[in-house]
């Protein structure tokens, strides 16, 4: 049976900040969760802040909090801040919420977030305004904007319907690309909307057995691929992130099968990009993963070691072997037109597979890596009207 992701995730507690009560998203939350006692809040939720225990982190996924985001929405991907250690692809991010309703064992949010609830930001107008500002300055440059950095792009989209606003905005930003990154199969809510052909729906994937073992609460691999075929048939571009690659004794067979499945169901022209990354996590995440997923999790028992950037990773030769293997499978089973690159990897790993530390020298990848205009630290919100 195909395991799908829930359209309306279940929460045990729902909070709406009093300043967000009139927002469209708050009204929709109230209507979709009408049977629940929704609490109106002022300021922070009445829970401790600071480092979270495993139990607190798990509990935070069962609370929903609708509130305006007080900071800047539009930012560079964190990988770009480690340019000395990592080869990065000029990705930009737009966070319209934070914390994920799914429970992947390796999820980096476990060492990144200390929020007591899943948050939906009610002030999407401000986010769109920031993007409009940036677009006025750099609309001609090929910016890629992703909404799935600290929240699954589509996991709550049936609740927020933010995809509608974003798809509409990107119709007037033809040189930019919008990416929804997800582990869900929730695409029906936007699939029939008119779009500018510059919307990529991407899935983080792994071989089915690894998904079943480590991606708790998500749609299974087949459901994700089914959703990908659906959006592809409606003219959206798709992308896949084989990330994080996880070692199992028969990893070669499993990843070869995965590449075979992708190259048989999709053509290179449908697929915006394939990014590949290997398992990595911050040291402080180890205890959290151990407590939440037990010693039999493939991630907890992985043979990982501290790397130069501080994260735990597989020994570098194994890592290079795994990444190169996947790239080679795409070359052999799909052909050179498949655009495959490595995510959050060191220049040394790039050299091993691509014979260059500079992705701009790799055919097909130049656009992803060429330097773009910097994003201002503070976007002036008053200089243009919506």
């Amino acid at each position: 049976m195909i395991r799908q992701s829930p359209q309306i995730p279940q929460f045990e507690e729902i909070y709406i900040d009093h300043t967000a009560l009139d927002s469209e998203v708050a009204k929709r939350v109230k209507s979709l969760y009408s049977s629940m006692n929704i609490q109106v809040t002022q300021g922070d939720l009445p829970f401790d802040r600071g480092a979270m225990s495993a139990q607190e982190f798990s509990t935070s996924k069962r609370r929903l909090w609708v509130r305006p985001f007080p900071g800047q929405f539009y930012k560079r991907c964190p990988g770009a801040t480690q340019k000395k250690a990592l080869t990065c692809c000029n990705y930009t991010i737009l966070n319209l919420g934070s914390q994920c309703t799914y429970n992947c064992s390796y999820c980096y949010l476990q060492s990144y977030l200390n929020l007591p609830a899943v948050q939906i930001y009610s002030n999407i107008d401000q986010a769109l305004h920031e993007m409009k500002q940036m677009h006025e300055q750099s609309g001609h440059q090929p910016f890629r904007v992703g909404t799935g950095e600290v929240i699954d792009s589509l996991g709550l989209d049936f609740v927020t319907l933010y995809s509608h606003r974003l798809i509409d905005f990107f119709r007037s930003a033809p040189h930019w690309t919008l990416e929804f990154k997800t582990k869900s199969d929730l695409v029906d809510q936007f699939i029939d909307l008119p779009h500018g052909g510059n919307v990529v729906v991407s899935w983080s994937i792994n071989p089915a057995k690894i998904v079943d073992s480590e991606d708790h609460g998500t749609a299974c691999l087949e459901a994700r691929l089914q959703a990908a075929r659906k959006v592809r048939d409606k003219g959206f571009q798709v992308a896949f992130h084989i990330d994080p690659m996880i070692y199992v004794p028969d990893w070669k067979d499993q990843y070869k099968d995965l590449v075979k499945t992708l190259t048989s169901q999709f053509q290179a022209k449908d697929v915006h990009v394939i990014s590949v990354g290997s398992l990595r996590f911050q040291p402080e995440q180890k205890a959290m993963m151990r407590e939440r997923f037990g010693l039999n999790s493939l991630v907890v028992k992985a043979e990982t070691f501290p790397s130069a950037g501080g994260k735990y990773r597989y020994e570098h030769r194994l890592r290079e072997e795994m990444l190169s293997f996947v790239r080679k499978q795409f070359l052999e089973l799909g052909g050179p037109e498949w655009k495959v690159f490595f995510c959050m990897e060191t220049p040394e790993t790039w050299i091993q597979s691509f014979q260059t530390p500079n992705p701009q020298h790799v055919p097909g990848l130049k656009d992803f890596f060429r330097p773009l205009a910097p994003i201002p630290e503070a976007i002036d919100l008053n200089s243009s009207s919506l």
Binding site: L295, E303, A308, E315
Partner: protein
């Protein structure tokens, strides 16, 4: 009966630990309080403190504090609540409160607590002498019943606190069965650490063994030494050269190229 209770918060490794400190005239004189508990409280911020570090409190107040602070608490004292209760040091009502409000996994009859009573005098002294941190105690509690197996080994091998910490770091990732897989009789802590690494990282250990074999099979230039080492996620050759002439470098280079072929 327990006459004073304090709820304390301390920050260790940027993690807030809520702790319940118990104080009792009878306990005050024991090595438990003198050797283990009190040093741990140094520098703690104690809630509701009056002139002393701990605050006299009755059951109702204890109940309120426990409710207010929303445990699970993280008790650092190494005894079973039931031990205290059985020794008449804890009122039944207090025991009931603790059972009600503290994560049941942390209460008596569970192997998560290290029972002070189960330690020998030598072991108690060793524990006191090492002055372990909260995090180290947490890891030791994680060993459950295997703690007694390991404390014997640590004392026998005269492991330093640093070596114990290193072993605990590996033991945390092992199942209870794997934790017992070390060969008893290993003389030195370094050997034990190697054994544990072999259990925790079987694949990396085997790969490194193969590379080390290869190092031996290559003919290296004289006047220098070469070793296969792992540093974090990187593995490679560690070379020490003594060069008297530039020509010698090319000999080393040839050998290295042979090695990585």
């Amino acid at each position: 009966m327990i006459t004073s209770v304090a709820l304390a918060t301390m920050v260790e490794n940027s993690r807030i630990q809520n702790c319940l400190a118990l104080n009792h005239p009878a306990l005050r004189e024991t090595e438990l309080i003198k050797g283990i508990a009190l040093p741990k409280w140094a520098g703690l911020h104690v809630y509701r403190s009056r002139s002393e570090r701990v605050y006299e409190i009755n059951d109702t107040e204890l109940s309120e504090i426990l409710r207010e602070k929303n445990p699970p608490l993280n008790p650092v004292l190494i005894f079973h609540w039931s031990d205290l209760f059985n020794q008449g040091l804890l009122l039944e009502s207090q025991f009931h409160l603790l059972k009600t409000f503290i994560d049941p996994k942390l209460i008596a009859d569970q192997p998560h607590f290290i029972s002070w009573k189960s330690l020998t005098t030598d072991q108690k002294s060793w524990v006191v002498e090492k002055d372990f941190s909260l995090t180290e105690w947490e890891s030791m509690r994680g060993l459950g019943e295997n703690f007694l197996f390991w404390i014997k080994i640590w004392i026998e091998t005269r492991a330093t606190r640093q070596e114990v910490r290193e072993m605990l770091g590996i033991l945390r990732d092992l199942t209870p069965e794997e934790q017992l897989r070390v060969t008893r009789g290993t003389e030195k802590p370094a050997g034990l650490i190697q054994e544990l690494q072999k259990i925790r990282y079987p694949q990396a250990t085997e790969k490194n063994r193969q590379w080390q074999q290869k190092v031996k099979s290559i003919s290296w230039p004289k006047q220098g030494s070469v070793q296969w080492v792992q540093r974090g996620d990187l593995t490679g050759l560690d070379l020490k050269l003594f060069v008297t002439h530039p020509d010698q470098i090319s000999k080393w280079q040839n050998s290295i190229e042979d090695f990585f072929k």
